[in-house]
């Protein structure tokens, strides 16, 4: 056997051993086990094929080795996420309501979410940010992965960020990118024609061409690097804006607070060209609020607090060259993405009006939120008949943001401590935060309980 075939087989063996060990654990929901079994079948298929391949290496065999190793590389992080989803550090109460949300959101216009094949893995990773798979890897095309940072895995106030991650699935499944391709590629072409002298390579390709359509054809046919990279960046930025709008559509104000909690004063590290600036995203969410309020009524989307002061465009030490580049070239590209956001918002209005299941998802309002906050959370008890997850989360964020909310609570009020003692005050705030998290998670379980008991008994 060729050495590389033997090594590939050994690596497949090792990966399968690790996967089998993960499969041995008790999973909190069936989707997790099914995901691992699907991955197992892919890796095992490669192993069988390689074992039966000719003894001498040929091109087909070496290609199969590459494919097998590529599928270990692509699927291994997913095995890690799935294996970790069983950890009791997670808030398992979130699973049922989030899966219902995902099914409602990803159903087609005439599809009943109850018949949906969408499966969900909710887990965490040793990563700073929330993660999802942007392109659903084979054989897991029905699976949605929402991966929270490990240290925030049980923080229910961050659930609205799952709305953003679900947005990536909506983007992909509804082919939004293809629908916007003509718009953004035309604008990128216009921008590059205008700034062609800054790019010698581009200038050479375009020659004397002046019209947008022939220039675009030329750039596409020549597979121009600057053009394709600019298009890729605009597309990614549009996708991020779109996901923010979906998150806001689903969760209303609580999305904005989770966003602010997670990103202010700015995202640390090297600024990514594929993400719009945080301040730009914040501004666009505010515009989405205006548009959605106009479409579905201001009783759903509350007036938003001005949170721009929470953010600063910090110059990252050591990244000055990148920032300078950004100002030269990418600001223009940022502008292209921003110019298309109105159309993106209209896209969401269109998708929502075509789907009955989406209408049910945005069933949240001030009145319910006030009832939950004032008649239940005020006494540190979960509420009945909350109807939707966003009603709970919007009320929870009201409590989180109001330091004086429990000031006269018999056990959480200031009267229970020596308020001149800073350590005691700090401990009281921690106690309140922990109480709020427990309360919200219990409330989400009550929501699921009510959903289950409303359904007829099936045998």
């Amino acid at each position: 056997l060729q050495e590389y075939v033997r090594y590939t087989l050994l690596r497949l063996d090792a990966a399968l051993r690790q996967l089998d060990a993960s499969l041995d654990q008790k999973f909190p929901y069936r989707d997790a086990q099914e995901a691992l079994e699907l991955i197992r079948s892919v890796w095992d298929g490669h192993r069988e094929a390689l074992r039966n391949s000719p003894r001498t290496g040929d091109t087909t065999t070496s290609l199969r080795c590459l494919k097998a190793l590529g599928e270990i590389r692509n699927l291994l992080p997913i095995v890690g996420w799935v294996a970790r989803c069983a950890s009791p550090r997670h808030a398992f109460e979130l699973y049922g309501p989030l899966k219902l949300l995902a099914r409602g959101l990803l159903s087609g216009p005439n599809e009943d979410p109850a018949n949906s094949n969408v499966r969900l893995i909710l887990s965490s990773a040793w990563d700073y940010k929330t993660i999802t798979t942007r392109r659903h890897p084979w054989p897991l095309s029905d699976f949605i992965f929402i991966i929270f940072p490990g240290y925030e895995a049980a923080n229910p106030l961050l659930i609205p960020l799952a709305g953003h991650e679900l947005g990536h699935a909506v983007w992909e499944r509804n082919g939004i990118e293809q629908r916007f391709w003509n718009d953004y590629s035309t604008q990128v072409t216009k921008f590059l024609i205008k700034n062609r002298h800054g790019f010698p390579e581009l200038d050479k390709v375009l020659g004397r061409v002046k019209g947008i359509r022939p220039a675009k054809e030329l750039l596409e046919n020549s597979n121009n690097r600057v053009y394709s990279e600019a298009c890729r960046i605009v597309s990614r930025q549009l996708e991020e804006f779109f996901c923010d709008f979906i998150g806001f559509y689903l969760f209303g104000e609580s999305y904005l607070h989770a966003f602010t909690y997670f990103l202010s004063p700015d995202f640390p590290g090297i600024p990514s060209q594929t993400y719009p600036t945080v301040l730009s995203r914040l501004g666009q969410i505010n515009l989405a609020r205006e548009r959605f309020s106009k479409e579905w009524g201001a009783t759903i989307y509350s007036p938003l607090p001005n949170l721009s002061g929470q953010f600063q465009n910090i110059a990252h030490v050591g990244d000055l060259e990148l920032i300078a580049n950004r100002s030269l070239v990418f600001e223009g590209i940022d502008e292209i993405a921003v110019s298309l956001t109105d159309k993106l918002r209209e896209e969401i209005v269109l998708l929502a009006n075509q789907r009955r299941s989406w209408k049910e998802l945005r069933n949240f309002n001030f009145k319910k939120r006030r009832h939950i906050r004032e008649n239940c959370y005020r006494w540190a008890v979960p509420a009945e008949n909350c109807e939707t997850l966003p009603n709970i989360l919007n009320a929870a964020w009201d409590v989180e943001r109001d330091e004086s909310f429990w000031k006269s609570h018999p056990a959480l009020g200031l009267q229970t401590i020596d308020s001149s003692n800073a350590i005691e005050v700090q401990k009281l705030h921690e106690k309140r935060r922990e109480a709020l998290h427990e309360l919200v998670l219990k409330n989400i379980e009550v929501l699921e309980y009510e959903y289950i008991i409303r359904r007829p008994i099936t045998t």
Partner: protein
């Protein structure tokens, strides 16, 4: 004690005094829902059913030296006989043996799988381990116990003579003029299931009640979140509604069971350190 009809009236009470210091049981038991309130006025029962919640906390097995390295011990022989009698594959025997030799069985997925397999076979094999360190009651929850979440529709098997902490599905808030006592249901008690040993609920308590579940019988009991597992008797406390003097230690605000720490008081410390 208060009869069920009166409890329902109190839960649904709209009077100002009640609203200043409300009584909550969420989710509200079916017998206490507004629509049933009128019918329950004449109900003679004085208790409210409680359902089992979804979180469990099980103690890790303590450290007992059982096997000598390299030597087939009594436990190993017993296991061998057991696997032979059950006609189990030799790999299963080896897996169980490895499980015994595993220093921290609860930490490894393979060991958990073995334990589950044993549960599936209804073999209540208690395997103790030789550990370099042992657990002490003063250790943290993370070190002493494993937390489990069982979704609605799934079972948790409580083996004979095993003990686990559970919670009620109901989250309660007791006003300052009410207290309660939790007891089991006789139908479960007759099968050996005991649900609580520390049964008093103080005025001002808020959160899910912790249940101390023990199977004193000889057969495994499958318990399932959402099933009615106990009942609470509610009684008045000599206090006015709205009285804010609440026992702080009774405020738990927890949805899952925790071990907590039995703290010795001043007298216990003095007695423990006394010397003459």
């Amino acid at each position: 004690m208060i009869k069920r009809g009166k409890i329902a009236a109190r839960l649904n009470g709209k009077t100002k005094a009640f609203q200043k210091d409300p009584f909550f049981i969420i989710p509200r038991p079916v017998s206490l829902q507004k629509e049933r309130a009128a019918a329950e006025i004449n109900n003679g029962s004085a208790s409210v059913d409680l359902r089992l919640g979804t979180w469990f906390l099980a103690m890790r097995p303590t450290a007992i030296s059982l096997l000598e390295p390299g030597e087939p011990s009594g436990a190993s022989r017993r296991l061998k006989r057991c696997t032979e009698e059950l006609n189990l594959d030799v790999t299963i025997f080896n897996a169980i043996k490895n499980h015994i030799n595993d220093k921290r069985p609860e930490m490894s997925p393979q060991s958990r799988a073995i334990r589950r397999a044993l549960e599936d076979l209804k073999l209540n094999v208690t395997i103790y381990n030789e550990l370099k360190d042992t657990f002490l009651a003063s250790d943290s929850d993370n070190r002493l116990a494993n937390l489990y979440h069982i979704r609605f529709g799934e079972d948790f098997i409580l083996h004979p003579r095993s003990f686990v902490l559970g919670v009620t599905l109901e989250w309660m808030r007791f006003p300052s003029d009410l207290g309660g006592y939790v007891i089991g249901r006789s139908s479960w008690g007759r099968r050996g299931l005991i649900i609580a040993t520390a049964t008093g609920v103080h005025p001002g308590f808020t959160g899910c009640l912790t249940l101390e579940l023990a199977n004193l019988g000889d057969i495994p009991i499958a318990i399932r979140p959402g099933m009615t597992i106990g009942q609470i008797f509610i009684h008045p406390v000599d206090s006015r509604p709205g009285d804010k003097s609440v026992d702080q230690s009774s405020f738990a605000c927890k949805r899952a069971p925790r071990l907590g720490h039995p703290e010795p008081d001043e007298i216990a410390i003095k007695l423990a350190t006394a010397s003459f």
